[in-house]
């Protein structure tokens, strides 16, 4: 169990300590859980639209502090400043117009076969949620977790990554400064995931555990909860009874998105979008075109366009507005990129560009040059034998390109994955487009779309190992349950009087 009382946060590029913040202990985490749980009723004193309006006002406050927040995102997250704008805009837009999510939560009447409307489905907040967010987005995902819970009326405790908690702490301070009503039903926990997760799992006050993490980590959380449940078995009545309740687990996990480029598109334009979609935030994005699948008739020409675009990417100081690739979030990511590239070399794969590291020997200023590697299609189908780079998420700037014979083959290759977050297609053939929509195994399909959309309709989620529960989703709708209410009062009142 950690005894750390304070946390030093480093600039990801320079290594300079940019903030020292008090760290939680298991005791303070338990106190926070109790306090937030106790104050949840404050949220119920407002209706959805009051809470939405407050979040909308908070969004304005964030915007007025945008420059300061961007600088923090760049310093502690290592995001190039040009992409920190997107990181902030996506959450500010979401908050500004958050009443848009009401369409998923609005009480619905149901009409029976007889034409009566005695039934309504009402959406009720689950209760206190503990949320764990990743290091690659210092503000958008943790704030979205906090805001979505507030919006639907759940108390929430959010644990930002200990690698980059400062932006979220600043956002929370802004909520305090504007005296956001019911702020005591929200809190942040600054603690390492290793033991914080156990505190969340053990607390019966926490109804939902919401994490954005690697799929393997999410499965490990389930295993840990299973072990914990097992310890709580009561056999006093002769049968095993688990004394602890179910929890709602809500996992957003890894992506290994396929991006398909067919032979009927403008290769230069698509290559520009492809490179942006693949290498934004140094490739440290769950949704990112990771497995590029290209029609054989344009393969060589497209790879040439891609390499040209990739080699134009500038890496270095993330505060430089021209820089595209910032430092990696951790030494572990650097190591994973090296392992993936070394592994794929064993298959005789061609390295088109990159495959070089810049290692300061420290835990900052780490880079891996944007890399494009060929993976032969015959290596992709059997996932037990496929290269590591094909099988698993490359959470860094290494991407693969694979040749497809035709549309059917492209779909087969795209679906040869344990993951199913997004899939991207570039094609002008309207018949093929419909087939792609129907047959690609992913929860979010983007056809001929520009990357990096700032659009409230952008959904999260995935299928296979990319998310649990599966499907595209908006957080607010996952944080409530539907209550079936049959009210026969009007029909039967006289009969039962």
């Amino acid at each position: 169990m950690s005894k750390v009382q304070e946390l030093k946060v480093k600039n990801k590029y320079t290594g300079e300590i940019i903030g020292t913040v008090p760290a939680d202990t298991p005791e303070t985490v338990r106190d926070k859980i109790k306090r937030v749980h106790k104050n949840q009723f404050l949220l119920k004193e407002m209706d959805f639209f009051e809470r939405a309006q407050l979040l909308s006002k908070f969004s304005s406050k964030l915007r007025f502090k945008k420059k300061q927040l961007k600088d923090l995102v760049v310093a502690e997250g290592g995001l190039p400043i040009k992409y920190s704008e997107w990181e902030l805009n996506i959450v500010m837009n979401g908050f500004k117009f958050c009443d848009w999510y009401y369409q998923f939560l609005e009480e619905k009447p149901l009409t029976s076969i007889e034409g009566e409307q005695l039934v309504r489905i009402r959406y009720i907040p689950h209760g206190l949620a503990a949320c764990i967010s990743p290091r690659n987005t210092p503000i958008s995902l943790p704030l979205y977790q906090l805001g979505a819970n507030y919006l639907v009326g759940n108390g929430a405790i959010v644990k930002p990554s200990t690698a980059c908690p400062l932006t979220m702490l600043e956002a929370y301070a802004l909520m305090e400064e504007m005296e956001l009503p019911a702020i005591n039903a929200l809190d942040l926990v600054i603690a390492p995931g290793e033991w914080a997760v156990d505190e969340f799992l053990k607390s019966p006050l926490i109804k939902t555990l919401m994490t954005i993490t690697a799929s393997h980590t999410a499965k490990d959380i389930l295993v840990r909860y299973g072990r914990f449940l097992k310890k709580t078995v009561d056999k006093s009545m002769g049968v095993a009874m688990y004394t602890q309740p179910f929890k709602n687990f809500f996992f957003e996990c890894a992506g290994n998105d396929a991006g398909i480029v067919m032979d009927d598109v403008n290769l230069e334009q698509v290559a520009k979008w492809n490179v942006m979609a693949s290498f934004t935030n140094s490739g440290q994005q769950c949704f990112s075109m990771k497995r590029i699948i290209v029609h054989q008739d344009i393969y060589d020409e497209y790879v040439e366009c891609l390499v040209k675009e990739i080699e134009q990417l500038k890496y270095g100081d993330p505060t430089d507005p021209d820089v595209d690739i910032g430092p990696l979030g951790s030494r572990r990511i650097l190591m994973m990129m090296e392992v993936m590239v070394e592994d794929v070399k064993k298959y005789g794969s061609k390295i088109f560009t990159g495959a070089e590291k810049i290692d300061t020997g420290e835990d900052y200023g780490l880079f891996y040059k944007p890399t494009l590697v060929e993976i032969k299609p015959e290596l992709c189908e059997d996932l037990t034998k496929a290269p590591f780079l094909w099988r698993e998420e490359a959470f860094g700037p290494v991407r693969s390109v694979t040749k497809a014979k035709n549309m059917k083959d492209a779909i087969k290759l795209a679906n040869a994955s344990n993951y199913g977050m997004r899939a991207v297609v570039y094609s002008t053939n309207l018949n093929d487009i419909e087939t792609f929509k129907n047959e690609l195994e992913a929860a979010n399909i983007y056809i001929n779309a520009r990357p990096m959309l700032v659009d409230i309709t952008v959904s999260l989620g995935g299928i296979k190992d990319s998310a649990y529960p599966p499907g595209c989703k908006y957080y607010p709708q996952e944080l409530v349950y539907g209550k079936y209410i049959y009210d026969g009062t009007l029909l039967n009142l006289e009969k039962i009087k």
Binding site: S60, F64, Y83, E85, N93, D99, W100, Q103
Partner: protein, 156 residues
């Protein structure tokens, strides 16, 4: 389809408390086509603020309403009873906005004040008084994009 030719009507220009409000409304009346995406009957307030703290206190120095009629727009002093939304602008932002020479430059500058707000150099904001979905249906989303407030991210 031909672009609709809209007219503008400035009502009771003398009623404004500030000269800047007179100048801004006169300026807007030159570009009624900015409002062409809005549904007939939509209306929203423009509130002019000296500072962000005045905005926090909702204490504008002047306020006017733009109403989208079937012919074009009507601009009149004071806030409406039930506006769709309030567009808040700092005086510094307005002083620069009225220097722009065409609606494209105006939209770009308005967007920049929204996306990069600054107490010293100018800012704008807006507060929704009706549900987002309803405002989208009334054309405000398209209006905001045309006016430069919702960024087109093609340039990233």
């Amino acid at each position: 389809m031909m672009e609709e030719k809209l007219t503008s009507q400035l009502i009771n220009l003398k009623a404004y408390r500030t000269e800047i409000a007179r100048k801004y409304t006169t300026f807007l009346s030159k570009y009624p086509e900015i409002f062409s995406d809005l549904c007939i009957g939509s209306n929203f307030d423009f509130a002019l603020y000296e500072s962000i703290s005045d905005y926090d206190k909702h204490s504008p120095v002047d306020i006017f309403n733009v109403y989208r009629s079937s012919q074009g727009i009507e601009i009149k002093p004071g806030g409406a009873q039930n506006p769709d939304l309030e567009l808040a602008l700092s005086i510094k932002a307005i002083k620069e906005l009225i220097q722009t020479k065409n609606k494209i430059d105006y939209a770009q500058l308005l967007g920049s004040f929204y996306n990069n707000p600054d107490e010293e150099n100018g800012w704008i904001d807006f507060e929704l008084h009706k549900r987002t979905q309803r405002l989208i249906n009334m054309g405000y989303g398209k209006f905001a994009q045309t006016a430069g407030i919702l960024e087109d991210d093609d340039g990233i």
